[in-house]
Symmetry: C2
Subunit: 329 residues, 2 copies
């Protein structure tokens, strides 16, 4: 299985994509990766790759780069030789099984829609992220592909999220929560109310409205929200993680007894921390496009890129795109 | 200073409001409280109050109660003898300096607008909550009064938040961040873009767009968002708190060494936890109404109600409503 990896996208490109590709190929003997980008910048990072891994990594030259601040649709349309656009085209032509990028989210979404194309019956794509919640791992979507959503978009996210979650977890009928500003039926705006009606009448396992605290608690298998809200929640959670780490560090500074305490707790702390570590789930599939497109976090280091390649490989093996397409026929 | 306290609002009413009133009056010799509600249900909870405190607590009979699931505007209009409506009317008539309720948020907002009335020049009110962030305490608004906002609403929240934050903190020109799905200028929907333009041209100390992680980090003194987003963030943060406590407890279950670790860390842990304890800031002023209205958390126990009374007293002493009114003239 060949995956097209945007070597120029993300805060630590091209080093992180190159090293991530080596890491993932090392772990999966069936994986082959095409690094798309500026050859001279990629090659130095591949020098230390073991020869059996190096054989499975190719380089596809791309002379342009889409930056984090570039206008999404304009750059995808205009920069025809950009690493991201070429990666997308390899998916469209089925040269690659899927593509992965840690670059400009808007451009990835625009590329998914404009280059790869939407699945018939889907109006807008949604980025889906697994959340390590208390009661279960929930799938949250959309986390940033479609900023504002109509009822139909939320309904389609619920449908796609259910299919993907069933494939991921084996749960026959995943429960679906629709995110709102409270769990009582009267909550939400007109679009949420509209989606709630559609979901109530659908064959999905609709749980009803869920609110902010239900997401970390893990009330449902799938949580559906607009991209603005999903993005806000994910980033807010990341910020809380940084704050907790910083405060603990400051608090322990120069104090012996609490430090001994931390040392004694370390195995437990590591276990707790592992639950929130997102590196293992380093990639979010862009559900609703007619091909496999994975968005990795902008600040992905090599482990997260390797994680995104694992997510891509898993999605391909599950035939995620085919499942969504089939369910809409 | 007499404050009207809705004795029937919140998950632990009437006990929590009654005990909260006793607690707050005990701490503040200048405080007098009118408990609004069903007399027979209130009196038993006042029996143990010290006599000098009991003298400062009166009961105002209200025969109706607005429930958590009641339609906000309809219940405020229809239930004329409800504890919440009577509390609001005491503010309008200036019989009370302000009112406090832990009841139905929508009904508190509707009552603020319909009974107390808006300040001239303000289209929609906003609930403001102090967030114990890393770099500073930030004021987040709106956390649920105005679910969806136009540019003008966000702009007015920024103005009111700045005034209140200056009064609270003494910072002459509080920095204002406008919440969006990213901090780059191109982020946000049309309303956020419109508000961004208005804020850029205003005399406020506008920092620009902020995103999810900036809120716990505390990038700005004031953070402005619509009520849907603010509600989502606050509740998501609460949920994470519950999850962390639960996981730590489960992880320590039956294990001696990590428990010793926790014991050694306890003074530090308590200090960390105190930063996030919202009981001290148990109330959010409803900014933009022409009188003092404080919304307490629905699950407020006595400490949180006492906290809300402190917030109310502080707001009255700062003359918060007058400051906002004056700035709009």
């Amino acid at each position: 299985m060949l995956f097209a990896l945007d070597a120029m996208g993300g805060d630590f490109a091209p080093e992180a994509p190159c090293r991530g590709a080596i890491l993932a190929c090392n772990e999966n003997p069936d994986l082959t990766v095409a690094l798309i980008g500026i050859r001279d910048q990629i090659e130095p990072h591949l020098e230390k790759a073991p020869s059996d891994v190096r054989k499975r990594i190719s380089i596809v030259e791309a002379s342009e780069v889409i930056g984090m601040g570039d206008n999404p649709a304009a750059s995808i349309r205009g920069k025809k030789n950009s690493s991201l656009r070429i990666a997308m085209e390899m998916v469209r032509s089925q040269e690659a099984v899927g593509c992965i990028s840690a670059g400009n989210t808007g451009a990835i979404v625009a590329g998914g829609v404009l280059v790869v194309g939407r699945i018939k019956g889907i109006d807008r794509p949604g980025l889906a992220v697994p959340i390590p919640a208390l009661e279960r791992t929930s799938l949250l979507l959309d986390v940033g592909a479609t900023v504002r959503c109509k009822a139909i978009n939320l309904y389609q996210f619920a449908r796609m999220g259910s299919i993907y979650m069933r494939a991921l977890s084996g749960i026959e009928k995943p429960t679906v929560g629709l995110f709102a500003n409270g769990s009582e039926d009267i909550k939400g705006d007109e679009d949420i109310k509209g989606a709630r009606e559609m979901l109530t009448e659908s064959d999905l396992n609709f749980h009803g409205l869920v609110e902010g605290k239900d997401v970390p608690l893990g009330r449902t298998d799938v949580v559906v929200c607009d991209g603005f809200t999903g993005n806000a929640l994910i980033k807010f959670g990341e910020g809380i993680g940084v704050v907790v780490q910083t405060i603990i560090k400051e608090e322990l500074e120069g104090r012996i007894i609490p430090k001994i305490g931390v040392a004694l707790m370390m195995p437990s702390l590591k276990k707790i921390w592992a639950r929130f570590e997102h590196e293992k789930n380093g990639g979010s599939p862009l559900l609703g496009v007619d091909g496999l497109v994975i968005k990795a976090h902008g600040n992905s280091k090599e482990n997260a890129i390797a994680g995104a390649l694992h997510v891509a490989r898993n999605f391909a093996q599950l035939k995620g795109t085919d499942l969504i397409r089939a369910s809409l026929d």
